[in-house]
Symmetry: C2
Subunit: 249 residues, 2 copies
């Protein structure tokens, strides 16, 4: 069950990643409430988004799923893991962090900086490093996102974007100094990020690994928030191994 | 080429690790100058130990090797990588950190604490966590270290231990605020540790990943300095993949 990032729709998932994982797992992508093609109003808190995701998962009839949460999706995954523990078998957290994550309250200025040279470069700027291999990985990622040509998702509305930004910034201002939420995650967790995440600074991934009781942390060099897309081959290999290559269909 | 930890001899390498790696690679264990069965006097600095290791490698006739440096061995590996770059193809750094590593100047009090309930428990205390699985991993490790019964190495002498301690503590007091040494490492590096390293605190592994240009960091939960022994199966899998499973014989 893939939980998507700020502003992202189903068409923001990299097919290099989803198609490769779909070889061994039943992959479910969805737009959470109010996002793109999904009806309803996007809530302004992570915990409400988590409830919406739980409603979706249970409406599909699943008793237990694996979660892959990227960025905002990782905040949601943590909430589901703790508040609906029996629903979650294993969790992959990418480019994300705990309640009170360092740096995420600066979301708006980081995003504005990323959009400085036009929306077509925003994801490259925000998800990848400025090195030659970082920029090339970003361009390749953007090409892969365009491979699907029919029935594409509409972009997230301004209302959704505003609500999600509020949820993220609120999550950043929340306090959990004893890391009670991380300590309460009983599922095995694979944590991944790049060394240079601009949106959820990489140190937050280290903090996740320090307090989630059962985890493996991987951080790739010369990569940012989109490290899972840049290192998609190694990422898929690690996820396959982590999930036990189970066919959950 | 395995570079050993403080006080360690060839018989401190876990056969679960060396034997598994030897399936795909030519593994060389050695006691550096003055350590255990090796002649000469153990120097009091990391850079001199690095020179001794380079002498050994070149005396064996190797033009290029992969280095696996654990703890003090990781300090030495960084020095060799930077000062003899053509000699080094790839590097694995386990339970180690950069020049000025946080916490390593406290070596003596950490070691004394580890020896509190007798020398037979010291490595379990110092390399593993206090959880049930940590202690069990420590006991299993200690058993594996005893598997070789003939021609075992003599323990490191007090003179060697004193010289190595001085080298480690000096390395901890050295300054490299701009991380020039890490930035100068041009080889691919695999960095591994546990979340709870008492000897070279785990944050140092994160710092390595932030500045070594080409790296992959792995941190396993509920593990300490000896994470590579506790997670030997995953470690060997990662190292094999990292080294390209090349037969270098």
């Amino acid at each position: 069950m893939f939980l998507q990032h700020f502003t992202g729709t189903m068409d923001n998932w990299d097919p290099a990643l989803t198609n490769a994982l779909a070889k061994n797992h039943h992959v479910v992508l969805f737009n959470n409430k109010g996002v793109s093609t999904s009806g309803g109003k996007t809530p302004e808190s992570v915990s409400e988004m988590a409830k919406d995701a739980v409603d979706f998962i249970t409406a599909l009839g699943y008793g237990q799923v694996d979660l892959l949460g990227f960025s905002l999706g990782g905040f949601i995954a943590q909430d589901i893991a703790v508040n609906n523990p029996s629903l979650v078998r294993k969790i992959v957290l990418a480019g994300t962090g705990p309640i009170g994550s360092e740096g995420i309250t600066k979301l708006e200025s980081v995003i504005n900086e990323g959009y400085k040279d036009g929306p077509e470069n925003a994801l490259i700027n925000l998800f990848f490093t400025k090195s030659e291999s970082g920029v090339n990985a970003g361009k390749a990622f953007m090409k892969r996102l365009q491979l699907r040509t029919t029935g594409r998702d509409t972009p997230a509305s301004n209302e959704t974007i505003g609500a999600q930004a509020k949820a993220i910034i609120t999550f950043g201002y929340q306090k959990d100094d004893d890391h009670k939420q991380l300590l309460a995650i009983k599922q095995p967790v694979l944590i991944v990020n790049g060394t240079s995440d601009l949106i959820v600074p990489s140190i937050n991934s280290y903090v996740l690994s320090q307090y989630i009781p059962d985890s493996k942390l991987i951080i790739w060099s010369d990569a940012g928030h989109g490290a899972l897309f840049q290192y998609h081959e190694d990422f898929v290999r690690e996820v396959d191994l982590f999930l036990g290559q189970a066919k959950n269909k």
